[in-house]
Symmetry: C2
Subunit: 216 residues, 2 copies
């Protein structure tokens, strides 16, 4: 049995039902907190499930932001200061991270409201989340408005990475599962992960092998 | 103890090490197979971990494609035919999905090479993966080259959704964990998921509650 949803059926869903449905379709999303600080000195923390890999060299990361949602202050800070941090949400801070999506007043810092601590590295202006185990500093490289729905695509370059603990393997892979990083599905479901396997680089006519036990 | 990687240290990594490292940073990624068919009738299946939510109304999904990798045939098919499918990778087909990233000859269909079956719905030109439990038909709406690194951003509109089984909740949320959809970290690690919780919509000064048991 296969249930079929065509465009008309999707358009006829209620707004929240459609938001839940469509947000589930892309699959698991990364759970990150974006740290920023305004020119007025007020720090800001926003939950973002839209961070995605753009390239490794230079190291680029993108995210989609809706200007009319709670990320508005974060987006303004990014435009004003050119920098932000991205901080992995691990299992123990998932509820606090989700709480950051509440509409706090502009002068209120989500760090204080949800009980997470600001951390600074060198002279980088934007705050990291002290509790986060994998986090990085990003400088804006490009912001463009997607004409299809007026969302903004922010692409930044990773300029520093901070990693607590021995999560980095010799081949560069970061064991984000060991760091208890979480994934999001839909708008509000948080998940931990269990490894199925790490597979070898695929070649035609060659069987895949597990590389998980090979790489320390 | 916190390990610090600055831009210089990242630039000095070997190419594969840096690719593993940077690809791990964004967090968990969705594991999807993109189905397409060329004007010559050859079907194509590419593993994509870069699909991301762009908007719910209209339902838009984006993905980043590197023209010089194995997705080249898929990207050409999408440009030629304007359509493709996105198919969730569940645990039982994770190895076959990863094998699709091998560089098969252009005239060879990955469906046949890895042992997955083509499925068609109505008169939609692009093939679905029969084994996939959550899959959708997409029509291209915009393709743009990101000048920062010459990757291509493909944004499409979801025009039909096919769901096997009772994964859709009354509020529209699709239980992708029940469907055993997988997540990717880095370039080659596949993960299943375990729910931490579904949290209520966040409001300032109100405690979050679990909505997981409320919604059938």
């Amino acid at each position: 049995m296969q249930d079929h949803y065509n465009s008309q059926r999707i358009a006829q869903m209620g707004k929240h039902q459609r938001a839940n449905f469509i947000n589930s379709l892309s699959g698991y999303k990364s759970a990150n907190l974006v740290g920023s600080k305004g020119l007025n000195g007020v720090s800001n923390l926003a939950l973002i499930s839209s961070a995605f890999h753009v390239g490794a060299h230079p190291p680029l990361i993108g995210m989609i932001m809706r200007p009319h949602t709670v990320v508005r202050d974060t987006l303004q800070n990014i435009k004003d200061t050119g920098c932000y941090t991205i901080n992995h949400v691990h299992t123990a801070i998932a509820a606090q991270a989700h709480q950051c999506s509440a509409r706090y007043a502009p002068e209120q810092s989500e760090f204080i409201a949800v009980g997470l601590d600001e951390e600074y590295s060198g002279d980088f202006f934007a705050p990291f989340v002290a509790q986060s185990r994998i986090k990085f500093a990003v400088e804006v490289r490009e912001i463009q408005v997607l004409q299809l729905n007026q969302t903004e695509l922010v692409i930044g370059e990773v300029v520093a990475v901070l990693i607590q603990g021995d999560y980095v393997k010799h081949d560069g892979y970061v064991d984000i599962q060991k760091a208890q990083s979480t994934a999001v599905s839909g708008l509000d479901s948080y998940h931990s992960a269990q490894r199925i396997d790490r597979y070898s680089y695929a070649h035609p006519d060659t069987d895949l092998t597990s590389i998980w036990n090979e790489i320390s």
